[in-house]
Amino acid sequence: MRLSAQAQELLAREYVLGTLHGAARRRFEALLPGLPGARTAVESWQERLGRLAEEVPAIEPSPALWRGLSQQLFDPPAAAPARRGWRWLMPALGGAFAGALLCAVVLTQRPPAAAGVDSAGGVETLPPAYVGVLSDATGQAVLAASSTRHGRLLSLKLLRPLAAPAGQVARLWAFPADAAPFAVGELPASGKAALALAAPAEQLFAKVSRLGVRFEPAGGLATAPTAGELTISGPCVKVW
């Protein structure tokens, strides 16, 4: 196929703009290596139209984006890399089991006096509790949340920093199986914290199977988060 210089220019400009699409786009890309004139035209148009991008307001990415990238490139897990949304769809059992194991470690490392109002027994005994482990899109655990079964405090431990964008807060949401999601409270940026619960954990979390965190304006958002809006999420399970 022979393309005139003018045809190459016309295709190049629509290719860069994006209006050349489908099979034509693929064919043009395949032809490019053999068409120096078209390559030059594409580069010129990328330079011209690239200036349009200067006007677009920047959006700070969530920390999960860099974590996912660096893990996939520099620290790949043995299994296939997780994609966004995958954990949400994962059958609850496997995740719940991993969550219980991780939280058991968190709980046994804490002195029993700090475990909650109905903590019973010594360090060898795990009290009945609700536990959750929330992970990012790459499957890395970010937050451990736990409360004794009848406690009114939710202990939070950030396993990795979770920095909200400027002017926003990280809010923890619970997703009951039979009711609308509800906000539990705000997270610290790092370290540990205890959230006072509006009611005993048993009342709040008995039907909750998932927990998730969304970045929100300081005043909060009225609408419940969708799965795609959650920065981290994970199973909430009963340990008793």
């Binding site: 045809a7 699409h21 489908g22 990328q46 690239g50 349009l52 006007e55 996912g68």
Partner: protein, 195 residues
Amino acid sequence: MPTPTDLAPLMARIALKDRAAFEQLYRLTSAHLLGLASRIVGSPARGEEVLHEAYLKVWQSAGSYQAAVASPMTWLINVVRNKAIDTLRSGASERASRVEADDDEIDRLAGAGDEQDEPQRLLAGHLARLRLDGCMGALPPAQRQALALAYYQGLMHSEIAEQLGAPLGTAKAWVRRGLGKLKDCLAAAGLEAAP
């Protein structure tokens, strides 16, 4: 937006698989590129998926970046826009009913001579604006809107026609003429060599 002076040395180091340089490039460019990707694919969440793929490509292909051909930011914008357009038009979003007959475009142009009507001279040298937005502003509103919908939202000709309430052929002509005028305007403004 970061300057080429900031980014060019980083690109050279990334080509040598320097992780610290890659992270620095990410810190300097990701917010700007996410703004762009989010406009095209419709939400920051989907924009982040585009950026994930784009930065993987940056890490893998930094060696093919040629400083003599494009500034680093232009190269990055191109990687991100191509990924965003692919994402937008993959799967369900490229519905058969919306696919135009552009597949014939290359064949058609292959048979076209240099006399092909291209509006090269519509804005002669009297436009001395130095910035692209100036040249965009100088376009007739329909052409400007058509280009903006294509560039910022990744719309195809048929979608542009639908949005602007015009026949498909008219929308195609707006895009074609708008690009031609833009090129002339920028050349006239002294931003690049005249064609």
